[in-house]
């Protein structure tokens, strides 16, 4: 039994923790929160220079070839640090989609640039309210040109390329690669519950696209499964950070002549947060294993990791504010940054009810086999 990260992966974690503690500070996150910049460009460049963007990309495309388990380690730290960069969109979504379904030419051209941070990518599946569902896709590729409206699109306002879920002339779902800088693309920034991560509405009006080979919906689901594991690590990192903050505050803060952390009302609440976080961590570990070896269990492992981590992050973030009391609800305290991000992460790949249904669907498939 070796259900833990390797020595090298632990070192990678330490390195990431040190870097992010120094750079992903409250002050710099708030620059994005306050709308000074859509993301922290300097942090992005340093992250690219350290090779994180290509952690799971094979060396032939300029990646570090650390594998997906290495990427999971980084994801946990990025989630813990609330890093205000388009990492998840560009790495978990666009890069993964290209690795899975891109043509050799597309991979040769785009992956090295994504790895270097010269290009930012994203994936656009949603068209307004609702969870992933082929019936809801109205965007259409006709004669090699894309028309339609996608929202919310993570980092849609700052990405250079987007992989867009659309229909072709025969109504099949395809993934269409669009360059976002040119004519016919109209990005519109959205106000969201978490302004530290940019979201946009993208309108396409006859934009030339390249269609990725293969069944578009099948690829989308594979990308979402992979991203669900990686985002689960971000959520676990965030939950652990919230728990650490709440515990530290409960030790310091005195009321009724004693630290509030000595009251069972607080102790039991934080014990429950700990339990939820450990369950989520263990589910995420199994997701990492399934992702790392490309196991047949990945759909079940990914959905379980996502459901568990979404629950833990939400619980930890809201109870962190509650433990802090009134001060926790002020703009100056960082508690709300984690609260905002926790909810955002729980929505970004589709919300919990959809993923819970995927857990049961995967169980049914497994038992039928």
């Amino acid at each position: 039994m070796n259900f833990d990260f390797s020595e090298e992966q632990h070192q990678l974690r330490d390195q990431a923790r040190r870097f992010l503690t120094e750079h992903s500070t409250s002050k710099r996150i708030r620059q994005v929160l306050d709308g000074v910049a859509p993301y922290d460009r300097a942090m992005w460049q340093e992250i690219a220079a350290m090779g994180w963007l290509g952690a799971a990309v094979p060396e032939e495309y300029g990646g570090a070839g650390l594998g997906h388990v290495g990427l999971c380690v980084l994801a946990e730290e990025l989630g813990r640090a609330l890093a205000p960069v388009p990492f998840s969109s560009s790495v978990y979504l666009a890069t993964e989609a290209l690795l899975l379904a891109g043509s050799e030419a597309q991979k040769d051209e785009l992956l090295p640039k994504l790895v270097a941070g010269d290009l930012i990518g994203t994936l656009a599946w949603a068209e307004g309210t609702g969870n992933p569902d082929p019936a809801r896709i109205k965007a259409r590729v006709s004669g090699g040109k894309l028309t339609g409206v996608k929202w919310p699109v993570a980092d849609g306002g700052l990405a250079d390329i987007a992989i867009v879920v659309a229909r072709d002339e025969t109504d099949r779902i395809v993934l269409a690669l669009a360059r976002l800088g040119g004519a016919g693309v109209h990005p519109e920034a959205l106000n969201t519950v978490d302004p530290t991560r940019e979201q946009a509405k993208l309108s396409f009006d006859g934009v030339p696209v390249e269609v990725l080979p293969g069944d578009g919906w099948e690829t989308l689901i594979q990308v979402l499964d992979r991203a669900a594991v990686l985002i689960a690590f971000e959520q676990v990192g965030l939950a652990q950070k919230c728990l650490d903050m709440a515990v530290a505050f409960a030790m310091e803060r005195h009321a009724f002549g004693r630290p509030i952390g000595s009251f069972q009302a607080i102790k039991h609440k934080l014990a429950d947060v700990y339990v939820a976080t450990e369950l989520a961590r263990s589910n995420a570990y199994f997701g990492a294993w399934a992702l790392g070896v490309g196991a047949a269990e990945l759909p079940l492992a990914a959905a379980s990791a996502r459901v568990s981590a979404t629950e833990a992050a939400w619980l930890a973030a809201k109870e962190n504010i509650q433990t802090h009391g009134g001060i926790g609800f002020t703009w100056e305290m960082d508690c709300h940054l984690y609260y905002r991000r926790a909810k955002l992460l729980g929505l970004t790949l589709g919300s919990a009810p959809w993923w819970k249904d995927r857990v049961v669907a995967a169980l049914e498939t497994r038992n039928a086999a």
């Binding site: 070796n2 952390g261 000595s262 069972q264 014990a271 700990y274 450990e278 294993w289 009810p353 857990v359």
Partner: protein
């Protein structure tokens, strides 16, 4: 990351499998394998199985070779438990003696005493029980009122213990008693082992809320125990008791039934609103919630096993198992009944699906949230030992035990 055994672990697992295949019956699916009541026949069967395990060298795995053990690390005990989980073997007879009583003896008894008691316990000839809980001391384990008074070289014990598993078929027991009521709670305790057949011991079964009887009340009336059977110094009984409690078996292989798979099976078998219950959105949501808890625990156990396999002490995550399992069991049982409509109330085995497994669990599950540490005590332990939060303020710390307010219950 992988789930592979080391070569040594794999060889041991094969050894265990060979033994179990030859000496035990596999569990049947859909039926809980654990025997609920230990009668004379079950006791004899348990003793035969223990003897067979002993002769195969599969007992006392982590114990010193001097006492019949194999001096293996704890991962081997976990592997044994994992394999045994698939078999309907007798349970509930030797766990406390070999898991808690004898390890306490090893820490405090004389070599002569160990030579007398350890081999017979290990072979399954003699059964041991643990006498800690009292009517007025459940979560507050040190609030022991059973008195021990010394006269010459003999102690006289008077009082009552409760929730004692296996007292009715035990040969020996370990007991914590109050030897001095004039000092604060933890300081006036002493610890003994005694013969459960001693005159003055009366054992009565407790009828539980579920209707079953797995535990006993044990009454002591002028029970004589020689001072030579004292473990630890007079007044140091609490320290000895902590040794016992630390040896509580690492509950690592236990998955209570019904679990998610059983709920899934039930939801596919019964109809709700004219179609299989599994198609219902709220049913699916509940199954998913339970599944991620079960799997979260399973992979938490794997993390613990990884630490054990490396010869490390498991991290604090290993402490969440019982807390999660107990609440989950109760929730699954209750939801299972909901799936049956008003027929969920029926627990006739021939009428209720899966032999009334869910109904049985509904009635027995309150116990799992109390026994071996209540949910509340476990949360305190997580908060204090794992998260480092301050202990509760103790109002009984500096007050002599006999001046503490006792309340009416």
């Amino acid at each position: 990351m992988d789930f592979e055994d080391t070569p040594q672990e794999a060889a041991f697992r094969a050894e265990v499998r060979t033994f179990l295949a030859a000496n035990a019956e596999p569990k049947k699916r859909g039926v809980p394998g654990r025997a609920r009541h230990v009668g004379a026949e079950e006791l004899a069967r348990a003793k035969r199985f223990q003897a067979a395990k002993h002769d195969a060298g599969l007992v006392g795995l982590t114990w010193p070779k001097e006492w019949g053990g194999r001096e293996l690390t704890q991962i081997f005990q976990v592997i044994y438990n994992q394999e045994e989980e698939a078999y309907a073997v007798p349970r509930g007879v030797f766990e406390i003696g070999l898991g808690m009583c004898i390890p306490t003896m090893m820490a405090y008894a004389t070599p002569e005493q160990l030579r007398r008691y350890v081999p017979k316990a290990l072979h399954g000839e003699e059964v041991w029980c643990q006498l800690f809980s009292e009517p007025a001391g459940g979560s507050d384990v040190a609030a022991v009122r059973t008195r021990a008074e010394k006269n010459g070289d003999t102690w006289t014990i008077n009082g009552q213990k409760i929730w004692t598993s296996g007292a009715q078929f035990s040969d020996f027991g370990i007991i914590v008693v109050r030897s001095n009521p004039d000092v604060p709670k933890h300081m006036g305790l002493s610890f003994f082992f005694l013969d459960m057949k001693s005159p003055g011991i009366e054992i009565r079964p407790i009828k539980q809320a579920s209707g079953a009887s797995h535990f006993n009340e044990v009454f002591f009336t002028d029970v004589k125990v020689p001072d030579s059977q004292r473990l630890g110094a007079v007044g140091q009984g609490w320290r000895v008791a902590l040794t016992t409690l630390m040896n509580e078996r690492l509950a690592i292989g236990d998955v209570p039934r019904p679990d998610t798979e059983d709920l899934l099976e039930l939801a596919r078998a019964v109809e709700l609103d004219g179609e299989p219950a599994i198609n219902n959105v709220s049913v699916r949501e509940k199954i998913a919630d339970m599944h991620v808890r079960s799997q979260g625990l399973k992979y938490t156990r794997f993390r613990t096993m990884t630490a054990l396999s490396r010869g490390q002490t498991p991290g604090p995550e290993s402490s969440i198992g019982k807390l999660v399992n107990a609440a989950k069991l109760q929730e699954i049982a209750s939801f299972g009944l909901d799936l049956l409509g008003s027929a969920g109330m029926v627990m006739d085995k021939d009428l209720s699906p899966m032999q009334a497994m869910f109904q049985e669990a509904l009635l027995s599950s309150p116990a799992s949230r109390i026994a071996g540490g209540t949910d509340e005590i476990l949360r305190n332990i997580v908060a204090e030992r794992v998260l480092g939060l301050p202990g509760d303020i103790r109002v009984d710390k500096d007050i002599p035990f006999n001046r503490l307010p006792s309340g009416k219950r």
